[in-house]
Each structure stands twice: as structure tokens, then as C-alpha cells.
Amino acid sequence: MEIRDDTIGVYVHIPYCISKCPYCNFSSAAISSPPEKRYSDCVIKELSFYLETEGLNGRRLETVYIGGGTPSIFSPEEIGRVISSIKGRFIPLGNDIEVTLEVNPDTVDLKKLAAYARGGVTRLSIGAQSFSDVELESIGRTHSARRALDAFHEAREAGSRNIGVDLIFGLPGQREKDWESSVRKAIGLRPEHISVYGLTIEEGTPFFSAFKGRAGLPSEEAEAAMYERAIYLLQEAGYIHYEISNFALPGKTSVHNSRYWADKDYLGLGASAHSYISRPGWGRRWWNAPDPREYMRAIENAGTARVGEEKLRREEAMTEAMMLGLRRLDKGIEGRAFKERFGSLPKESFKRWEALHKDGLLNGPNDDIVLTPKGVLLSNEVFLKMAEGCL
């Protein structure tokens, strides 16, 4: 009999921001005083709905992640209420499970950060994005570099021993040396976790029309160089490159985010949140209405705001296992787990693997398949070729 993983991670989406960044396509609305209480009530009500309808009672809770938007726009009381509701409905895997809160530097101070910690937050993810004021302004962030540094120190002072810092490269007008300086400043803070994201120009954002044809943005060559430079500097400083965009000090990887890449169950609460249940079959995913008002109305009326759902077919599940597995640079597509699920090893299932290996894009230690450093830079091409040769 299959031994079923009975853990779960819970994601809570807070779709409000103090201002909308011009590159962001996440579900969020700029608003000065969001309906905190009503929204939190909805999240808690939604949780009850899924506990019953999805049979999640008795699941062991491994992680909670509160993202956005800007969740730190919500008061510590509301955040604390949401966290304790979630913990109360499952069986926490321990007293100090990972509970992450995404934080915008402009929305916090020492007192508030301490209160979040008392409310159950054990990990902070600070959206610094850059340590250059010019760059911050060019991407419509309201905070300064100074404020981001201060927020970090305040978080430490408030007792946080697990902090992530987010940076973006490929910004308008950004030079390689500007980027290196931001990376060095981040490293200087010694956060437990650093994420580096290449700026993606998403359709439907103000940046999409502003940077048509990529004019005004760093060249592909410069972008590649920035990415490579960050990888080098971070690894040199002791950070492990464990996912395409994520680096952590040993033992400090994001447990919650790792669940997404490892075919583990997660329940998404709040507007636009996605949920995934891996068994039975090849997995099932559903998602909520993206508009916060629509979301709340639906929850209040029906207990759920689900607007879409997909049952994965075998080939889709395999494609995801490949694409997500390869993103995990420390693990790759794990041969044994893959075979257990699909009946054959990844090297047998993806007929292009050998050619990609010869081209220096993939490595195959034991039964696993991992991206090489060259493969990381061309990962989308590798995914596509792997998907093409999927048996």
C-alpha cells in the first residue's frame, strides 16, 4: 500500500498594496485602508469549507506562507488571528513550524515586527528589490534603500532568525556594477535566504507597454551576466543555490516554497490563491476568483470562491514533475520518487535527456537529472526539449 504523505502547507494571499508596482501582475489592489477584518474572516471561513469538503481534517501542518500583495499592510492582530486559526484546524508538525510573512519595508517598524512574531510569524521575506534609490524609483517602489536596510535590522532586533531578502535584476537602466552593489549589500546583511529574480515584463502591466521591444532594458547578454554574477557572489558567500531564483544558508531553504516543487499538497486561501492536492490520480489543482471583492462575496455566500479547477492527466503531471524538479538545483528530478509515481525513471521517460546531457545542459547523478550551470541559464529551453521528448 502506498504510504500517503499527510502533511500540508497553507498559503494565504493578501491582495492589497499601498501602491501598485508597474511590473507586477500579481493579484493586488492599491488601497489605503483594506477591509482587514472582513477579509481575514473570509480566509478563516474558506479554511473551514475546505477542511470539510476536501477531507483535510487531521492533516499535519508543515508550513504557512502569507504572501501578496503586501500582507504587512494588515495589522499583527489580524495576521495573528489568521495564523492561529490555521494552526488550530490542523495538527502542527511542531511548535515552531515555518510561518512566513512577506514584508514591504515601508509598512513595518520594530514594534510591528515584534508583534507579528508574537502572532506566530517565524520567517520574514523582505521585498527589498534593490539597494539603489534610483532603481527603486524607476520601478515604482515607495521605499528607499535606507528603509529596506533599516527594516532588515528592525526584524533582527525583533528577534527574527529567519529572514529572506528579495532582489530584482534586469531593471531599466541597471548596469552590471549597480546590480553587483545591491547583491553585495544584501550579502552584507547575512540574511538566511536571498531570492534573485530577473525582471519579467508581463503582459497587461504598465511595463509591458513602456518596454515594448525591450528598449531601455539591459540586453540579454547583460542580464545573463548579472544573473551569473549573483550566482557567483552568493555561492562564494556560502549561500546554496537550491532553486533557479533562490539561495539559502545551509538548512535555511524555504520549506513552504519547496513544497510547490516537490509535488506536495498545499491549500491556497484568499483571492487568486491556488491549491493542489497530489492524490488520488495525477493531482488536482483549483484556484480562486482574483478580485478581492468578488472573492469575499463568494466566500460569504457560498463558503468557496473557486473559479477554476484542473485534474491533471499523466502526461501533464510528468511535465510538471520535470519542470518543477529541474528548478530544484540541489535535488533535480529525483529518480526514485519519479519512478514510484510514474513507473519509470526520468532518464527512461524523457528521451531527449541524453542529447541535453551531451550538450552540457543536464547532469545525471545516479538516477536523478539536474540542470548544469549552463542549463540554468537556458532552463526554459531545456524544459521545452524535455517536454517534447516526454514518453
Partner: protein, 599 residues
């Protein structure tokens, strides 16, 4: 058998979009041949492709019953003709089955190239022709001007032209009365040996080949032993019938009748359009005039994108050939593309139709190589070879002479575009034969041009530079000697045979340069550098480099991104199915047709 004096066999001829199908629809409707409920637009165009593109590929017939003002009920056989220059021979055979033709002219646009071409064909086969001015409901309609144009340009009496709007249902009765009064009844003798014209045939899964005929002498019925005079093959007739408009068996087809014959025939090839059917035991003395075997003029290679689909492609071309005797194919092997077929077509349009049908009706993904004409090569040892694939051109030292086919192109255009069009014809190695003003604003131009130039991009260019107002028709002339050489395209140092082409020597350099540039635009960047070269023999004349992809990374892939990313990947994977791997390089289908896109 129908009373001969009450039969009228007629066709409708028109330039594309002048309203032939709509008028046919109205005639079917008015005579109650089909009810309004059954009516769909373009009723006689049965193929999905025909309806979608608003064209007629296969000839269709319909028997209409019409009670005329003189109190008698007539049998009117409408023979719908294909509407494209590629099928001009089929058109001429369909027209031969008639005694008369309605010439539709758009009451605002006037006479166009196909109007002229079809009219001449109709005159050639001796039809009684009367004009109908269509679309008279349009505000731009100017019947008096168009009547004059018909008289001036076509030399046809237009004084009693019927005014109609097929779309609005105006003048339909007038058209029917004109058919009865002006189209002569068929001549011919029922007691003579059978003599019937084959003007179309197709393969039906249940019945085998269905042959459309027009009886000129004698009669044919179930049990008649018939003989196809050109092929000499004989068959026993299983049944005969008419389309009204659905197939309906009848006892006998006699003089003047238009209908179908089913005779256990397995292959369309045995029933060539234009052939004469006669009685096997009591044959007629001479066949009907005008038969010629269909001849392919344009060739291209068809290859499955996925080599594993070769057998499916083979099955598909064999099936398609059952239905289209003018389409030819033979197996061919390309170093770059693997196993495929070199296919022959009547023209570019025919080629497009065949490709589309193969992909659509047989679910194939195909790579098509650039179309080429057939070259006649005289070697130094005086032997003559026909080359329908540039890669097979013998090395220059063995060639004494190359000849290529020429056509005569007749163009009709508004005079403001004359300069541009003359420039185009000159740049395509055209030889001017005639310029004639049809009116102050319209001009007719006749050129002799190598077919190869037409096959490339002539038609597209013509349409663009005249904003679609020019029309063109052409006929084949002969083979003429030209100074031609082979141009090769190399990708990462390897010549790709499927990309070779034959070009005039004096243009080889420019063509090579343009082509290499175009290929650079078309071929997507790959994970390694791609070098494109154009070469004549061992001499490289152009070079382009496609830089290697440096970075293609998705930054974020968390819970809410996964479905979207996977779907994107699936979509890209679908797109890649249209790519052919040549060596390590992935080439999109357009790369093989790049030569059509260069200026």
C-alpha cells in the same frame, strides 16, 4: 429520358467574387430544387475548403425544373465550373458540356481578367453567351458604363443584358427566362452510338468512381457496356442518375442529359476529364474534340514533419490522387528532410489546395519545399533530362543548355498602377507583348514571363502593389533557353538539399544575399550559434549569423504559477511540432518557403 427540345444545358462564368455561387443558390431556390430550409450558402460547393475560401474546386451539377412563361416545363442543367486559372482545362471541359453560358459581370467592378479568360474559353467551345449584370443593388453599380465596357472589351452585345442582384434575389426570373429563350436545345441523335463527354469524376468510398457526363449522342443505362476512348478501358454500368441536387437514380440518360454514371471503376485515373465515353460494342467513330491529359506544371516536395508519419502521408497522397488525376507524386528522399514525395500540381493554387487538404482531411503535419517548375536540361552528351527538383540539377560541367517554361500572362488593372506593374513584369524577366487601354481608367497588359517567376511571388506582389485591383490570367507557352544556375543554402556548414533553388545567373548574388537575410529572420535563435550561407558551387556568396541564446529563464514559479507555466510549455511544444530538425538546427516550415518571401 427527357424531351430534347425542353433541355437547356448552361454554365455560369464569372470573375471571382462577382457572384457566381450566389446566383447558383438563387436559381436552385427559385426553381424549388431545394427548399429555403435546406439552403446553405454556396450550395454547390460541397467541400469545407470551398465554402471557407469562397471558391469552387470541383465541378458540380444540378438539374432544375422550371415552368417558363410559355407554359412549358424545362429541364435546366446547371454545370458549375471551377473558378481558378489552374483549372482552366477543367473549365473548358465543363463548358463543352453546355450549349450556353451566363456571363456574370459585377455591375460596379466591370470586366476582369478571368471574365475575359472564361469568355474566350466559352466562345472557343461555341457557346451561346448572354451577360448578366450582378450586384445592381449596390450604390456604386453603374450598369450603363459596364454594358459599354462589355461591348468594347469583350465584343459582346450587352443591350439586353439581364440586370440582377443575386444577393437580394432581384432579376432571378429574368435570368431563367433568358436561359430558356437564348440557350439552344441540345442537338444530337438518340439512335446513334453513345457519345458522352466526361467533365468530372471523383472517388466515393461506397460507390467507387462517380463519373459526370454529358450525353451528345445515343443513350446509356444500367447494363450498358461502356468504353473510355482515351484509355481504352471498358466497364459495365451499374447505374445512372442525375443531381437534383442530391443524387437520384434514373433509368436512362439520353441526348442532352447531364448526369452521372457508376460502373465499378476503382480509380479516377481511368476516367480522365475530357475523355469520351462510348458503347464498347457499338462505338462512335471519333471521340469528342479537345481531350488532353492533365500535366503538372508546378512541383514541390512534401515531407512529414515527423518522419514516423511517412506511411500516413503515403496513404493520404494515394487517396487524394484517387480523386484528383491532375495531382501527381513520386517518392523522393532528402538528406535534410528524410522520406517524402515530389508532387506535381496544375499551378500554385492547386498546390495550396492539396496541401491544405492533406493537413486537414488526413491530420498530417507537413513541410513543403519551395515550389519549382520543371526544367529541361540538355547535357553535354546530348541527352535531355527533366528536372523537377533543383537538387537534381546536373553539375554545370555536364550541362549544355537549360530551358524553362514560359507563360503568357494577361493582366487587367486600373491605369494608375500601370507603371508599377510594368516595373514588376520587367523585374521578373518579362517580355512585353501588348498594352491596351480598355477604357480611360483600365488597362490590359500582356507579358511573356518565365513560369518560375510567377511561381515565386509574382501574384502576391501584384496584389499588394495594386491594392488587390489587378487581376491576372495565364496560359502556358513553351520552353525557352535561359542562363540558370543552382544556388545552395548551407546551415552550419552543411548544404540543405531541400533549400536549393535554380536562379538566373545574373540574379544569383542578390537572391543569395536576400535569402540568407530572410532565413536569419525566420529561424529562431537556438542554444548554439547558427550560420547561414548561400553558395554557388563551392563559392560562398552570402553569410549570416544567428547568435546563440544566452538566457531564457522563468524567474518565479510558485503555487499560483505552475498551471500557467505548464500550459505555456505545452503550447510551445505544440508549436515546435511544425519545426523540422536538420542536423542540430530546428527549422520552422517558413524557412523552406523563405524564397517566396524575399524581395
Amino acid at each position: 429520358m427527357t424531351d430534347q427540345s425542353l433541355i437547356r444545358n448552361f454554365s455560369i462564368i464569372a470573375h471571382i467574387d462577382h457572384g457566381k455561387s450566389t446566383l447558383s443558390d438563387r436559381l436552385l431556390e427559385y426553381t424549388g430544387t431545394i427548399s429555403k430550409r435546406e439552403m446553405v450558402d454556396q450550395f454547390l460547393d460541397k467541400m469545407e475548403l470551398e465554402r471557407e475560401r469562397g471558391i469552387t474546386i470541383k465541378a458540380q451539377t444540378a438539374r432544375l425544373s422550371y415552368k417558363a412563361d410559355d407554359g412549358k416545363t424545362y429541364t435546366l442543367n446547371l454545370i458549375d465550373t471551377p473558378g481558378h486559372v489552374d483549372f482552366s482545362y477543367e473549365v473548358s471541359r465543363s463548358l463543352s458540356a453546355c450549349e450556353g453560358a451566363i456571363l456574370i459581370v459585377d455591375a460596379s467592378q466591370g470586366v476582369e481578367a478571368q471574365t475575359v479568360a472564361h469568355l474566350y474559353t466559352a466562345v472557343d467551345v461555341g457557346l451561346e453567351i448572354f451577360p448578366v449584370l450582378n450586384k445592381i443593388d449596390l450604390p456604386q453599380a453603374d450598369p450603363e458604363r459596364i454594358k459599354k465596357e462589355i461591348e468594347d472589351v469583350l465584343g459582346l452585345d450587352a443591350s439586353d443584358a439581364v440586370l440582377a442582384s443575386a444577393k437580394e434575389g432581384l432579376g432571378i426570373k429574368d435570368v431563367l427566362e433568358a436561359i430558356v429563350k437564348r440557350v439552344p436545345p441540345p442537338a444530337g441523335d438518340n439512335s446513334k452510338p453513345l457519345k458522352a463527354l466526361v467533365f468530372d469524376s471523383w472517388y466515393d468510398t461506397y460507390q467507387g468512381v462517380v463519373v459526370q457526363i454529358r450525353v451528345f449522342d445515343g443513350r446509356v443505362r444500367k447494363g450498358t457496356k461502356i468504353k473510355f476512348m482515351a484509355t481504352g478501358k471498358t466497364f459495365d454500368v451499374d447505374n445512372v442518375g442525375v443531381f437534383s441536387p442530391g443524387p437520384k437514380e434514373v433509368e436512362e440518360l439520353g441526348v442532352g442529359d447531364v448526369g452521372f454514371v457508376i460502373a465499378g471503376i476503382k480509380e479516377v485515373r481511368d476516367t480522365n476529364v475530357g475523355d469520351t465515353i462510348t458503347g464498347a460494342e457499338n462505338p462512335t467513330e471519333a471521340p469528342l474534340p479537345g481531350y488532353k491529359a492533365a500535366k503538372s506544371m508546378v512541383f514541390s516536395g512534401l515531407y512529414p514533419v515527423d518522419s514516423a508519419q511517412y506511411e500516413n502521408l503515403k496513404e493520404a497522397v494515394i487517396k487524394l490522387r484517387l480523386n484528383d488525376s491532375s495531382f501527381t507524386f513520386e517518392p523522393e528522399t532528402s538528406l535534410a528532410l528524410g522520406f517524402g514525395f515530389r508532387c506535381g500540381f496544375l499551378g500554385l493554387f492547386h498546390m495550396e489546395i492539396i496541401q491544405e487538404r492533406l493537413e486537414r482531411e488526413y491530420g498530417l503535419e507537413l513541410i513543403t519545399t519551395a515550389p519549382t517548375v520543371i526544367y529541361r536540361v540538355t547535357k553535354t552528351d546530348k541527352t535531355v533530362v527533366l528536372v523537377d527538383n533543383p537538387t537534381n540539377l546536373p553539375p554545370p560541367q555536364y550541362i549544355e543548355m537549360i530551358e524553362e517554361p514560359y507563360i503568357q500572362a494577361t493582366l487587367h488593372l486600373p491605369s494608375e498602377y500601370l507603371g508599377a506593374v510594368l516595373g514588376l513584369c520587367e523585374s521578373k524577366r518579362g517580355i512585353q507583348k501588348e498594352i491596351k487601354y480598355l477604357s480611360t481608367s483600365r488597362v490590359m497588359v500582356v507579358y511573356e514571363i518565365p513560369l518560375n517567376e510567377i511561381v515565386l511571388d509574382f501574384y502576391d506582389k501584384l496584389k499588394t502593389m495594386t491594392k488587390g485591383y489587378a487581376s491576372m490570367d495565364y496560359e502556358y507557352l513553351d520552353f525557352r533557353e535561359s542562363d540558370l544556375i543552382k544556388l545552395d543554402i548551407l546551415i552550419n556548414g552543411e548544404a540543405v538539399d531541400a533549400l536549393s533553388l535554380i536562379v538566373p545567373r545574373e540574379r544569383a548574388f542578390m537572391r543569395g544575399k536576400d535569402l540568407a537575410e530572410k532565413m536569419k529572420e525566420i529561424i529562431p535563435r537556438q542554444m548554439f550559434e547558427v550560420i547561414i550561407q548561400a553558395a554557388i558551387g563551392s563559392k560562398v556568396i552570402a553569410r549570416e549569423t544567428i547568435k546563440a541564446l544566452r538566457k531564457n529563464v522563468t524567474a518565479k514559479c510558485y503555487g499560483g504559477d505552475i498551471t500557467r507555466k505548464r500550459k505555456l510549455l505545452e503550447k510551445q511544444k505544440e508549436g515546435k511540432k511544425r519545426m523540422k530538425q536538420v542536423g542540430r538546427v530546428e527549422l520552422p516550415q517558413e524557412a523552406f518557403l523563405a524564397v517566396l518571401k524575399v524581395s
